[in-house]
Amino acid sequence: MATSAEHVIACTLKPAFGEQQDYFSIFGLVPSCVVDLDDLRVRYRQLQQAVHPDRFAHECDRSQRLAQQQAAQVNAAYNTLKSPLLRAQYLMACAGQERAAERTVQDAGFLMTQIELRERLDEAANDLSTLDQLMADVRKKIAQHQQSFAEAWQKQEWLAAQNAIDKLQFATKLSLEIEDRQEHLLDI
C-alpha cells in the first residue's frame, strides 16, 4: 500500500500521467477482472491526497495545471476501474480488442431472455415491488455476465469475452431504465 505515494512521486518526475498510462498501474495494481473496491477506494484517496490541485493551491499556475491533469487522470482511472462494465471494456481495449461498431448479439437464448425482461419492465408499469423484484433479477444477470467475462478474459477467448460485455451492457442499460422508472414513481 505504501507503493501509492511512491508511485505518484515517480510519476511527477516523469512528465505527468500520459494518456497512455495504464489505469491499473496508476493504482499500483496489475490488470485484473476482479477489483477489491474497498482497497481501490483506499488507494484512490491516497493518490488524491498526493496529486489533488488543493495540495498546490498556493503554488504557481504550472504546478496547479499539472496537479489538475494528474487528479483528473486519477479520477478517470478510478471511475473506470470501479465500474464492472467500464472496467471490462477497458481490459478489452488494453488487449487490443476494441469493439467493432456494428456488432449485434446473435445468441438466441440471450435475446429471448432480454425480450422477456423488457416485457416484464413494461408489465411492471407502476408497481414498485414488481420493479424491485425485476431489479434483483437483473442484478443477478449482471453478476453472471461479469463472471463469464472474467472467465473468457482469463483464457483470452476474446469473442466470448466480447459477447459477455455485450450482455453486460444490455443488462446494465436495463437496470438504469428500471432505476429511472422507480425514481419517476417515487417522484424524486
Partner: protein
C-alpha cells in the same frame, strides 16, 4: 521539485510567515467572512460586533454605494436602487428572471445576454453588486488581519451550474481578490463540524438558505471528504416561506394590490414573524392597518409544500449516492431556514435521527470555508484534510435533432477531463458548430446553454470521415473549459472556450451573445424535433434492415415498405408533429411483420450455429 517538498511533514511555516486567508460565505440574504486564528475558525464581525452582513447594496446617483446593514434599511424606502438577493440572478439572463418567481421589484434590462438592473447609478449587473459585497467583507478582513489578503475561499451552493460559478468567480476578480477555491457550501459545513477528526462514515448535509437548497451526501475517511452525490434546487429557500406568509397576510387583510415599497415592507414584516415563530408558538402581525396573529401550525401548513419538496431532494440524493437512510451517521443542518422547527422535524423524520445544529447555521459555512482557505494558502501543510467534490449537473453537447449528448454525467468527481469523438454529417463540411450545455434533460431547449463556438478549417472530406475530438475539462472549482480538435488528416484546429459572465472581455461577450439564447419550455417544439429524429431513425432502420435481410421479403412486401419509406421522407420536415407521429407509427405497425421475421431468422441462425457445433463435438467424440 518544489511540488514535492510542500507535502513533506514538519515544514510548518513560522508564525510570522502565516498568510492572511479568509473564507467568505456569499449568501442570498446575508454574507459572512471568517478566518482561522490560533488554529480555530472565527467569524470576523463588523464594527458593531455583528457577524452577519445583509447581502444588500444601495446605489446612489453619483455611483457610490453602501453595503450591508446601511443598505438594507434603504430597501423599503428606495427599493429600486437597493439590490437584495442578487445571488439569485448570478449567471442568469433576462428570460430567466420570470422563472425565478416573485420577490424582485427591480427594473431589469438585458445586456450581452446577462440580466442587468436599472438604478440611479446606471445599469448594474448581479456580478458587480456581488463584487461590492465581497469588497466590503474583504476590507473588513484586511483591517482585522492587519494587511492585504493572500487568498480567499468563496462558497457557492453545490447545485450552482457553470454559469453561476463563473459569475461568482468574476465577482471576486472584479473585487480584486485572489480566489483559492470556489467551495460548495454543504462541503464547507461538513468541514466546520470537524467531523474529519477521527470520524469515518457517511454524512448528509441539508442546507436551506434564503434562496437555495442543497443536499450533499459525503463519505468521510481519514480526513478525506468524498462527495458521493449532490442534489438541489436553486429556486427554493426561506424567501419562499416569506412569500407564502405575505400571500396569507394579503388574503387575511383583503389587500389586492401593493406597490414596490409596500411589498418590500410586508416581506420584511413576514420575515420577522417567521423568525419569531422559530421560538414562539404564535406571533402577532400588523400591516397597513390590519392586525392579526398566526399560530405555528398555520404557518407550518403554509410552508409544508416547500419543505416536502426539500425532503424529496434528500431522497434523491440518497438514491444517487446509493446509500440508505440508516447508513447516514450524521445530518448537518445549514442555513438560517433550518432554524424553523418544522424543517428540523421533517428532516429528522426522514433520516431517522436528530440533526446536528450545535454550530450556528448561519455561520457554519463561512467557518468551514476559513479552514479550507487556511489550508489552501499553505498555513497547515500537515493537515490531511482533502475535499473531493463533484459536478452537480451533467455536461454535454448538442447533437442532431436538438438532442443533448452527455459527456460528463452529474456527480462525477472533479477535476475531470473527458474527450469524445464526433464527425461531420455532410460531404465537404469544413466547419462544425459546438454547443455546450448543462442539465439532465434530453432536449437542448431544456438545458442551460453555456457556450457555442465554431471549429473552422476542417479539411473537406466525405461525411463521417473527420474525427473531431471534443474535450471537456472541469477544474477543482467546478468550472468548465472546452476544446475541440480535428485530427483525422494531421491537420489540427484548436479552440478553447471558457464561458464567462460579467467581465468586459469583448470576445467572451461575443460568445455570450451567440449563446445566451434561453429557450422557454416549449413542448411543441420539442415534440416536433423528437418526432423528426424518430422519423429519421425509422428510415435508417428500415433501410438497413432491407439491405441486410431483403431476401426475407416478397416483391409485394418490398414495394410496400418502399412506399412507407417514401412517406417518412416526405413527412420528415413537416411542421406538424402529429402528422409525423402518425406516419412513424404506421410505418412501425406495417413493418412489424418484417421485424418479427428477421428476429426469427436471427434466432434460427443462432440455433443452427449451435447445433452444428454440437454436431461436430459429437463427431469429435466419436472419433470421426
Amino acid at each position: 521539485m518544489a511540488l514535492l517538498q510542500i507535502s513533506e511533514p514538519g515544514m510548518s511555516p513560522a508564525p510570522h510567515m502565516r498568510k492572511r486567508a479568509v473564507g467568505i460565505d456569499l449568501g442570498t440574504t446575508h454574507s459572512l467572512v471568517a478566518t482561522v486564528r490560533s488554529g480555530s475558525p472565527v467569524i470576523l464581525p463588523d464594527g458593531n460586533g455583528d457577524n452577519i452582513t445583509p447581502s444588500a447594496v444601495h446605489y446612489f446617483a453619483d455611483g457610490s454605494v453602501e453595503v450591508g446593514k446601511a443598505a438594507r434599511v434603504q430597501a423599503a424606502k428606495d427599493p429600486l436602487n437597493t439590490l437584495l438577493s442578487v445571488k439569485r440572478l448570478m449567471g442568469r439572463g433576462l428570460q430567466d428572471v420570470s422563472s425565478l418567481g416573485g420577490g424582485f421589484s427591480y427594473r431589469f434590462a438585458d445586456q450581452d445576454g446577462m440580466v442587468q438592473i436599472e438604478t440611479v447609478a446606471g445599469l448594474v449587473s448581479p456580478v458587480q453588486a456581488s463584487a461590492e459585497i465581497l469588497k466590503h467583507l474583504a476590507a473588513r478582513a484586511s483591517t482585522a488581519l492587519d494587511g492585504a489578503l493572500d487568498g480567499v475561499v468563496i462558497t457557492v451552493p453545490a447545485y450552482f451550474d457553470d454559469a453561476q460559478r463563473q459569475a461568482t468567480k468574476d465577482a471576486a476578480t472584479l473585487a480584486g481578490l485572489q480566489v483559492l477555491r470556489l467551495l460548495n457550501e454543504p462541503t464547507a459545513a461538513a468541514v466546520a463540524y470537524g467531523l474529519d477528526r477521527g470520524e469515518e462514515g457517511v454524512i448528509a448535509v441539508y442546507d436551506l438558505g434564503g434562496g437555495t437548497l442543497d443536499i450533499s451526501i459525503l463519505r468521510l475517511s481519514r480526513g478525506v471528504f468524498e462527495v458521493l452525490a449532490t442534489v438541489g434546487d436553486t429556486a427554493l429557500g426561506g424567501d419562499d416561506f416569506d412569500q407564502a406568509l405575505a400571500e396569507w397576510v394579503l388574503q387575511q387583510a383583503n389587500i389586492s394590490a401593493l406597490d414596490f415599497s409596500g411589498r418590500r415592507e410586508l416581506l420584511d414584516i413576514c420575515r420577522a414573524a417567521k423568525e419569531a415563530l422559530s421560538n414562539a408558538t404564535s406571533v402577532a402581525i400588523a400591516f397597513n392597518g390590519w392586525s392579526g396573529s398566526i399560530a405555528r401550525e398555520q404557518y407550518d401548513a403554509l410552508i409544508e409544500a416547500f419543505v416536502e419538496r426539500s425532503v424529496r431532494c434528500c431522497r434523491k440524493a440518497l438514491r444517487d449516492a446509493k446509500i440508505s437512510a440508516e447508513e447516514v451517521a450524521h445530518v448537518v443542518m445549514v442555513g438560517g431556514s433550518t432554524r424553523c422547527p418544522f424543517v428540523r422535524k421533517k428532516v429528522g423524520d426522514f433520516f431517522q435521527q436528530l440533526p446536528l445544529t450545535d454550530i450556528d447555521p448561519d455561520s457554519v459555512v463561512a467557518l468551514g470555508a476559513a479552514i479550507q482557505a487556511d489550508q489552501l494558502v499553505g498555513n497547515r501543510p500537515d493537515s490531511e484534510l482533502l475535499l473531493l467534490d463533484v459536478i452537480p449537473l451533467s455536461l454535454g453537447l448538442e447533437t442532431m435533432g436538438g438532442l443533448v449528448e452527455k459527456i460528463i454525467p452529474r456527480n462525477t468527481t472533479i477535476p475531470v477531463a473527458k474527450a469524445q469523438e464526433f464527425t461531420t454529417f455532410k460531404d465537404g463540411q469544413t466547419a462544425m458548430s459546438i454547443h455546450v450545455l448543462q442539465g439532465e434533460r434530453e432536449m437542448v431547449t431544456d438545458c442551460r446553454s453555456l457556450a457555442r463556438f465554431e471549429l473552422r478549417n476542417i479539411p473537406p472530406m466525405v461525411a463521417g470521415a473527420a474525427h473531431i475530438r471534443v474535450t471537456f475539462q472541469v477544474d477543482a472549482d467546478g468550472l468548465l473549459s472546452v476544446s475541440a480538435r480535428e485530427n483525422s488528416s494531421g491537420v489540427q484546429a484548436h479552440i478553447t472556450v471558457k464561458p464567462s459572465y460579467g467581465l468586459s472581455d469583448s470576445e467572451v461577450v461575443r460568445i455570450l451573445q451567440d449563446s445566451f439564447t434561453y429557450a422557454k419550455e416549449d413542448v411543441q417544439a420539442r415534440k416536433l424535433s423528437e418526432q423528426r429524429v424518430e422519423a429519421r431513425r425509422m428510415q435508417e432502420n428500415l433501410l438497413s434492415a432491407m439491405q441486410a435481410d431483403g431476401a426475407l421479403l416478397t416483391e409485394d412486401e418490398r414495394s410496400g415498405l418502399l412506399c412507407l419509406l417514401d412517406e417518412l421522407v416526405q413527412q420528415e420536415n413537416s411542421q406538424d408533429s402529429r402528422a409525423i407521429a402518425e406516419v412513424v407509427e404506421r410505418a412501425a405497425r406495417e413493418s412489424e411483420f418484417f421485424a418479427a421475421r428477421r428476429m426469427n431468422a436471427a434466432v434460427q441462425k443462432a440455433l443452427t450455429g449451435k447445433s452444428i457445433q454440437e454436431l461436430s463435438a459429437a463427431d469429435d467424440s466419436n472419433g470421426v
